[in-house]
Amino acid sequence: MEVFVQTLVAGVLKGGLYALIGIGMTLIMGVMGIINLAHGQMMMVAMYLTYVLFHYLGIDPYMALFVSMPSLFLLGMFIQRFLLNPLMKVESILPENQVLMTVGIAMVLTEIARFIFTSNYLSVQTSYSTKAWYVGEISFSAALCVAFAFAALLSAGLFGFLVKTDLGRSIRAVSQDNEAAQLMGIDSERIKIITMGIGAALVAAAGTLLLPIYYLFPDIGGPFTRKAFVITILGGLGSTVGAIFGGVTLGLAEAFGATYIGMDYEDMVGLIIFILVLLFLPGGFKRLTKV
């Protein structure tokens, strides 16, 4: 029973971070209509940034959020502006060429990181990296709890932004109907650039928050990209609320998979969920809740 509860706690906490990763991806999916297969790699960039700030300047990872999020916001905008938006004017036979482009971007980001930092495993050891709080026999990792809180805060902030501000409304408009939004005078190219920036900033936050409890190497992006798309599919393409459920579900499934089946299978769990969703719940959670 203790093991069960412990696994549950670990799964939910991790799920909070996954939700953060998933929301960014989902936002991009909604507005651009594409799956961003460089999502995990953007997170990797943010992690290296955090590592550098900590290692060379001694900046705490939580403070590094104020650098990593804006930096990735800029990187995301750059990618959208110069690599993805131009594709809309290119006449292409393949419908998925934007997705392909993100694959190329992912490869480039990974290899640049390898160039600079080599393939070695890096980690950031902070005072709270291994700290935990106990409720009875159940441990709550301090870093994960803080990460969870930040994730909740950022998600709430994002919802507020999407619902209350003009820019947020424009983003939702483009997400619902790009053509109609353009007819209403919304500059959809600009909205796309900003959305990619926001998506990148959110995943950057996830990366920075994850670093104190994770190790870092250039290829870490791939598995997280896959997690992100599993979350997005699970939540229903383009549904932000669904992404939160998707993130927590994936976190739980991975935790239980690792505890009861074996660590080797942790990565497989997401992919199995993906297949199950395709089989039994095409459309994801969105279909159940109509959110």
Partner: protein, 327 residues
């Protein structure tokens, strides 16, 4: 008959190639090119002609390779049986996969292929009792000379191209392109789009699996990271398919040649040219450049993907439109 003359002449050149070029290194490269012709043709069928972009061709390639390898390793049969069975096993994977994925439209198929790629690699890594995991499978190669492999690869490449040519000028071909161009319209004119996407995927998987079993026989060694590689197989297949010409019969042949050449140039530092230059000049800068260029082979691949999609999204041969102007 007239428009077959060009390819026929080219085929004669290819048949004569290993007799004229005795250097095993160049023979090796040509074998790779021919293998990629088969893979590229398969990718082009499902992605270029049918419009269902696969990001996970390695799943089928690896299945073919492991079929051949395991036949030899576990059953003590000749790995050459893999040429017959590798494609079939790839289809056995592709069939249920396609049946599930094609029920949904949009990005699902592309993502699912990517997931399949990963699932297969993980499975091959974890299931050690069957696949030997990361240790990989080593078999004895049948021939010492490259020449027999060359002709087998040539035969596979030619069969691939002819199959695609035949398929694309038949009912199936028209149905595939209709599905790519507009799925609703295709359904409305009586095309069972789910069924024909399956047909296209299975054909593609067969060709890719076939190439995989050739790889096992030729290289003699495989492990999960080689044959289920996302970059070296799946992305390479996409590049071969795009660079040559999306939705053209001969595009993948051109693409295979260009891509094998490009990746070899970077892998070897310009066929060793950079090393010679380094030795000749003795400059430390050149040493560094050579080292970086060799290390940057995946980076170049990524840059190439970006470049190709931005500037050559339909490849050098051109689209279906151009190739089908005459009847």
């Amino acid at each position: 008959m007239k428009n077959h003359l060009g390819p026929l002449a080219f085929l004669l050149v290819l048949i004569a190639f290993p007799l004229a070029v005795r250097d095993p290194y160049y023979q090796h490269l040509m074998i790779l090119v021919l293998m990629w012709v088969a893979i590229g043709s398969g990718w082009n069928l499902i992605a270029g002609f049918t419009g269902q972009v696969s990001f996970g061709d390695a799943a089928f390639f690896g299945t073919g390779a492991y079929t051949a390898g395991l036949l030899a390793h576990k059953l003590g049969m000749s790995a050459w049986w893999g040429l017959g069975l590798g494609g079939i096993f790839a289809v056995i994977i592709a069939f249920p996969f396609g049946w599930i994925c094609f029920r949904l439209r949009g990005a699902y198929f592309a993502l699912a292929t990517l997931a399949l790629n990963e699932v297969m690699r993980h499975t091959a890594t974890i299931w050690e009792s069957l696949t030997e995991g990361m240790v990989g499978i080593l078999i004895m190669q049948t021939f010492v000379s490259k020449i027999p492999y060359y002709y087998i690869a040539l035969a596979i490449a030619v069969v691939s191209l002819i199959s695609v040519q035949v398929v694309m000028s038949s009912r199936w071909g028209y149905y595939f392109v209709s599905i790519r161009e507009d799925q609703d319209a295709a359904e409305s004119i009586g095309i069972d789009t789910h069924y024909y996407k399956m047909v296209s995927l299975c054909l593609a998987a067969y060709l890719t699996g076939l190439a995989g079993s050739l790889y096992m026989n030729y290289m003699g060694f495989i492990d999960p990271t080689i044959v289920f590689s996302l970059h070296d197989i799946s992305i390479m297949a996409i590049l071969v398919g795009i660079v040559g010409g999306v939705g053209t019969v001969y595009g993948p042949a051109v693409g295979a040649f260009i891509m094998v050449a490009v990746s070899e140039v970077f892998r070897t530092g310009g066929f060793g040219l950079l090393e010679k230059l380094t030795a000749a000049t003795g400059s430390p800068v050149m040493v560094l450049v050579t080292k970086y260029i060799k290390e940057a082979h995946v980076l170049t691949f990524g840059l190439l993907v970006i470049f190709v999609i931005l500037f050559l999204p339909n490849g050098v041969v051109g689209g279906w439109r151009k190739s089908r102007r005459s009847h």
